[in-house]
Symmetry: C2
Subunit: 379 residues, 2 copies
């Protein structure tokens, strides 16, 4: 089975969020029947309660009732992606034990979480959740007692190899380590670690505390059960995991983005339209449909009663002509970067970058809520 | 100037919609100073009022106050795109005179408008607007007195040539004719018409009554003033036109879609993931960002303080690697269509196609409203 079981969609956005972050116990019990060999049945009972730094019990039972029994998540690397994951895990009621070699990362991470929190609260964040963050520059101390690790180190194979070796040595053998690697396959760096079978790709989409996608793929040494369990874990905590049957350079979404960037850059370099108009051609056109349905179901919709078959048979010859005509640029020239930068700068004359970021996240949250409240959508 | 002037974004979604469909007279007066040589100044006064089929004055002044003085729009071809344009123009308060050689098209179009109307009303449709539709199978009768024509004939050069010749003969020389041609450049069919300088591309994105994008491009014989006036007209009636500096096969958005389809089809054929997971990888990841910002501003956001320059310098080598690895399929094989169809069918086992369509349009309308209400977005 490639898809994790999906809970039924409730009618209200708020309820949908609540459900995504923790289905009723009955549901979880039913799922335990399908649990992989990698499960930790003992952890279910142990995970019921935990004391907060202040001594009060603050973990809600339903949040912790995932089949892996995860309650403490280790976050390794506190760049943009690590900080955003931290905010998300905290919002879902987990304790987070974060580490980064840079001591300044602690203040930066706490500030990031503070800034993200109002949005997360609108999306149903666990009350008081942002206080459950422990930080240490010492990886071994930070990883003490964690049940799941999300790695967000630099995108370099040599550094990843060392980092995974150190993480693997610091945790229990059965703890899953998911990598946010945006392009490097897990196979390229899992080999140096003890128990490489629990190392898996868990690549989010920026910003992870808002966008649901996580790409999950096993490396050559990863246990298929770990891949399955990881897919189910992410689905359980409100993410939308996809299961890759095998590793690919750039995974899925970054390849699709690269294809889009290649074409818009080609059209820009050919002076077909301005940076702003090329952006509008996505954001007020196909981009709006892609926020709801992927390319296949959109094509199916375009085919009317005949569905995707009619669409592809009807549009096929034209599409083949477009494929033949698409840009084939192989390199990003200094000139290309200049063109893009000048076009973007023209937009930023009128609109502040930080304001755009905040506006984007706010609209993203509204799109999430509109989608969650719509029970006729397929995914 | 490549961009039409954009009115300031008001705070409320409802007000934003009202503004998009007709700015106050003062605003329009200011704009007349920039009007192209192609304007019809006489039409401003003439366009103030019109009698409805029932005899009541129903055209609101502000709706009609566009620089072209358009009040009656001819819609040629009532397939899916023509019907959707009809619904949009009616919602914006215009009289529509539609034609299609098939007599059954009238009932189908009226039904389409009826079905689209509740959504259009949520988006601020002109009250009573849907009654302002006249239909005739006779092109000459239908085009009588129109001020603007939107053509939506079959996607075949020979048919387009004949159709444009007939349309051009049926209307006043100064009336602009915009083609919804989804891939064929205007240059390929404008030559057979009288006054080819007023024939222009106005390619919408399906469904045009919901999605704002319109791609505008002149053919070899089109007057640049007509291109400018068309861009401004669409902007004025609430669309988001982009101005192409020159014609391209597939225009802009269909090329981008073709690039996306090429890659997801490649990944499907390579068994990297299921149809559903490849759709999720868009709809819960980059697709959500693309609904708000295009590829360039998203890349700029990804680069933090360093913007798109930092992003492209940092990610450039990885992206070049992905470009080199992207699918290069040239043809859509029967086998590919089978794969897509089976994957889609699996989703449709659980979800009805018509229900998905309705859910998509409903969420699209909510996205439009969320974007209109957000005054910090750049476009």
């Amino acid at each position: 089975m490639k898809q994790p079981p999906r809970p039924p969609r409730p009618q209200s956005a708020t309820r949908a969020f609540a459900r995504a972050s923790g289905a009723p116990a009955g549901d979880a019990t039913a799922r335990r029947g399908q649990a992989p060999r990698f499960e930790r049945p003992d952890a279910f009972a142990a995970a019921r309660r935990e004391d907060s730094p202040g001594g009060e019990p603050i973990i809600r039972e339903d949040e912790m009732d995932n089949e892996l029994g995860v309650k403490k998540i280790g976050v390794v690397g506190c760049g943009v992606i690590g900080m955003s994951w931290t905010a998300y895990f905290l919002a879902k009621g987990f304790s987070v034990r974060a580490t980064d070699p840079n001591p300044a990362a602690e203040a930066r991470t706490r500030e990031y979480v503070d800034n993200a929190w109002p949005l997360l609260e609108r999306m149903g964040a666990a009350p008081g959740g942002k206080d459950r963050l422990f930080f240490s520059t010492d990886l071994i101390e930070a990883m003490d007692g964690v049940d799941f690790v999300q790695e967000n180190g630099p995108e370099r194979i040599d550094l990843k190899r060392t980092l995974f070796r150190d993480i693997a040595n610091a945790i229990e053998p059965r703890v899953i380590v998911a990598s946010s690697s945006s392009g490097i396959p897990v196979s390229d760096f899992q080999g140096a670690s003890v128990h490489p079978e629990r190392i898996v790709l868990g690549h989010p989409f920026n910003p992870p505390h808002v966008l649901p996608l996580v790409e999950v793929a096993g490396g050559k040494l990863t246990s298929p059960d770990v891949v399955d369990a990881t897919v189910r874990f992410y689905a359980r905590i409100g993410k939308k995991p996809v299961r890759m049957n095998r590793e690919m350079k750039g995974h899925i979404a970054n390849r699709i983005q690269a294809a889009v960037m290649r074409e818009v850059l080609y059209l820009l370099a050919q002076d077909v339209a301005s940076v702003e108009d090329l952006d509008i051609a996505i954001a007020h056109g196909p981009g709006m449909r892609w926020a709801i349905l992927g390319q296949f179901l959109n094509a199916d919709q375009g085919g009317g009663e005949g569905g995707i078959r009619h669409m592809m048979e009807h549009l096929g010859p034209a599409m083949e002509g477009w494929w033949a005509d698409l840009g084939r640029n192989e390199h990003i020239a200094a000139e290309d970067i200049g063109l893009m930068e000048r076009g973007v700068a023209k937009i930023l004359e009128r609109h502040d970058r930080a304001a755009i970021a905040s506006a984007r996240d706010s609209v993203l949250a509204q799109i999430l809520q509109a989608k969650a409240a719509e029970d006729r959508l397929p995914y």
